[in-house]
Amino acid sequence: MSVPITFFLGLSAILFSVGLIGVLLRRSPLTILLSLEVMLNSVNLTLIAFSREVGGTDGQVFALIVMGVAAAEVVVGLGLVVAMTRREMVLDTDELRTLNG
């Protein structure tokens, strides 16, 4: 293949940063979750690129497991969003600044 691996890694870094900026700047928990997905996917790309470079399946298995964990994380995150909505709370992470416990 004519594309060098560094291209994939560079693209992955850019996507990761874009997602990171989203997490850092957005206040809606929904958008933060979406930005997190972007970050996770960029890492998946890295894993698969390296897997291809080495020629083994390990990186791909890793990517699948990352997808599984990401799905679990989304479920919990969305559950929280739903719970907040049902309790008529404002969907703004900056408002959640006091801990109870």
Binding site: L20, L24, L25, T93, D94, R97, T98, L99
Partner: protein
């Protein structure tokens, strides 16, 4: 048989768990009956195990069962080991048997208390701890049981936690007992250093190899624990205060079982104490002084439960005399009969208090024998047993201790004998002062107001409270027949094997002689009490204000032991803390450099609130910047 012992130990803890988890889901009475049935089952197991033990030949009666090892370091290992022998069997039967009766009594006593389930759970916890204490086969497990009974005693004394006095009393009992725990712990360390083992079998086997000094120090430390738990001099001040707890607790923990743990400890470690004769003499001295002092103080107390509490202290002092004279069986025998008659007296007092709606001052009672005839009859049996009148149980056991003293025939024996007889006189006086003040004389105005109403509505008390008292009266009346001098030797021959060096046992002649004198002295005491208190006269006033009023006052203040501790420990500590606070700490922290340090910290704290603002986004930002900085550093460094 060992399975049965395990079940006995496990049942109460099952009760605790069930009562704690199900708690409010159970009806209050149901929880009470559940806890009681658990105790009945435990008593059944213990009884069957004892019978099986009795059928074995004497050499095989000592059973040590190792369940598993939980601490192991080098050649040191401690496990969950049970030790079941004749002494344990006696203790087991007392704890579960009296425990069962008091559980049943508690159902009636705590009927109106919304938290009776918690009470039942605590009671079961106590029984478990006490069983662990007597069943353990090594010092670590003993210490665990020792601490747990202290904990349950603390919880139960402070059961009415909205009563400040009860909380204070609970704390006092806990702290006093902690002193004893420390004593036993250090004693255990010492024994481990000397012998390299903490198991009973190892200690008993190695005891003979110890020098007298080594053994004496170890025994002294164990004695500290025994004295604290059994409320003996000088760590006795917690017991009278512990009467703030519910009356069934006073009967079970502070009369029948826990406070006798010290006697059990000495009897159990008799091979060790045998190497330390001076400590044994000290035990006798503590016992004699304690029984006289407690008897004197009991003469002037006015709270019905406190009188019985001081009498408990005095009776345990008798047990100390017994075990201190190496007549271990008589000490344990007195422990056995005492469990019956003292629990009986406490439960009877509980019925009286119940009928009078919580009144505990005997000056507000009087003339109750017509209204509470059954309680009067039962308590009379208990009082006669306590005063050591032949043929009630206390007479046999107390006289067994005294005749052992007679047969020792040494100065210490004579001190014990004479002191014990004087103590018997005091016992007769204070016991029957209580009986006459409560049941004879003219009824006090308070009782006149309350009693007719309460008897009309409740009778003498609910049947759950009366039946345990009846059963205990049977025990208090006849338990002594196990050991009639010259006729039956059930107790002494049963306990013979626990001491490898044999025990002191008086001849039948000495026994009968002591019984004669003891009963006579007791009857003299009763006569004195009758003369002073049974009839309407001004004798109590005369005693209070007469020539001996200073002594009377001193006795009322319990011979100033509490004040002694107040002025030697509590007050100096308070003064020192106040001084350190006022003259050292406060000026020091107002000193400019130190104060500046504080200001600096506060300044930094305030500065960081810009980023430490609780917004997760900001923390993530700092986190990301940190990652960037770390990679940058690695890049630049090459």
């Amino acid at each position: 048989m060992t399975e049965l012992v395990w079940i006995t130990l496990a049942l109460p803890i099952v009760g605790v768990i069930v009562l704690t988890l199900l708690g409010m889901k159970l009806p209050a009475r149901g929880a009470g009956w559940f806890a009681s049935l658990i105790m009945l089952a435990a008593f059944g197991c213990a009884a069957v195990a004892t019978v099986i033990l009795a059928t074995r030949p004497e050499e095989e009666r000592q059973v040590v069962q190792v369940a598993w090892t939980w601490l192991s370091a080098g050649n040191f290992s401690v496990g969950l080991d049970l030790w079941f022998d004749e002494l344990t069997a006696v203790m087991l039967l007392i704890i579960t048997g009296v425990g069962f009766l008091i559980h049943v009594y508690s159902i009636g006593y705590m009927e109106d208390d919304p938290q009776s389930r918690r009470f039942m759970a605590y009671l079961n916890l106590f029984v478990f701890s006490m069983l662990l204490l007597v069943l353990s086969a090594n010092l670590v497990l003993l210490l665990a049981g020792w601490g747990l009974v202290g904990l349950s005693s603390y919880l139960l004394i402070g059961f009415w936690h909205n009563k400040p006095k009860a909380i204070k009393a609970a704390k006092k009992a806990f702290i006093m007992n902690a002193i004893g725990d420390v004593g036993i712990a250090i004693g255990a360390f010492l024994l481990f250093v000397d012998l390299g083992t903490l198991s009973y079998s190892g200690i008993f086997a190695g005891a003979a190899s110890l020098s007298e000094t080594q053994a004496s120090i170890a025994c002294l430390l164990l004695l500290v624990g025994a004295v604290a738990k059994s409320a003996q001099l000088p760590l006795h001040t917690w017991l009278p205060d512990a009467m703030e707890g519910p009356t069934p607790i006073s009967a079970l923990i502070h009369a029948a079982t826990m406070v006798t743990a010290g006697v059990y400890l000495i009897a159990r470690f008799n091979p060790l104490f045998h190497q330390a004769p001076k400590v044994l003499d000290l035990i006798v001295i503590i016992g004699v002084v304690g029984l006289l002092m407690a008897g004197l103080i009991a003469l002037v107390q006015t709270d019905i439960k406190r009188i019985i509490a001081f009498s408990t202290m005095s009776q345990i002092a008798y047990m100390f005399v017994g075990v201190g004279l190496m007549s271990y069986w008589s000490g344990v025998f007195h422990l056995f009969t005492h469990a019956f008659f003292k629990a009986l007296l406490f439960l009877g007092a509980g019925l009286v208090i119940h009928a009078l709606h919580g009144e505990q001052d005997i000056r507000n009672m009087g003339g109750l024998r017509k209204q509470l005839p059954k309680v009067y009859f039962c308590m009379m049996i208990g009082a006669l047993a306590l005063s050591g009148i032949f043929p009630f149980s206390g007479g046999f056991s107390k006289d067994a201790i005294l005749s052992s003293a007679l047969s020792v025939d040494s100065p210490i024996g004579w001190i014990a004998y004479v002191g014990g007889l004087v103590g018997a006189l005091l016992t007769g006086i204070y016991t029957f002062r209580l009986m006459f003040m409560v049941f004879h004389r003219r009824m006090s105005p308070y009782a006149e107001n309350v009693i007719p109403h309460s008897v009309k509505h409740h009778g003498e008390g609910p049947s759950t409270m009366l039946w345990p008292v009846y059963i205990l009266s049977i025990g208090a009346a006849f338990a002594g027949l196990l050991q009639i001098p010259g006729l039956t030797h059930v107790f002494s021959s049963w306990l013979e094997p626990i001491s490898p060096y044999g025990m002191v046992e008086a001849t039948a002649g000495q026994d009968w002689f002591t019984t004669l004198i003891g009963s006579a002295v007791g009857l003299i005491g009763i006569a004195v009490a009758y003369h002073l208190y049974a009839r309407e006269n001004d004798a109590p006033e005369l005693i209070r204000n007469g020539r001996a009023r200073l002594i009377h006052r001193a006795l009322e203040r319990r011979l100033y032991w509490d004040d002694l501790y107040l002025w030697t420990f509590e007050k100096p500590l308070q003064w020192a803390s106040a001084f350190l606070n006022r003259d050292v700490d406060s000026p020091a922290f107002r000193w400019a450099p130190l104060d500046g340090l504080g200001q600096l910290t506060a300044f930094f704290g305030r500065s960081f609130t810009i980023i430490e603002n609780g917004i997760v986004r900001m923390y993530a930002l700092v986190f990301a910047l940190g990652i960037g900085a770390v990679i940058l550093y690695l890049l630049v460094r090459g």
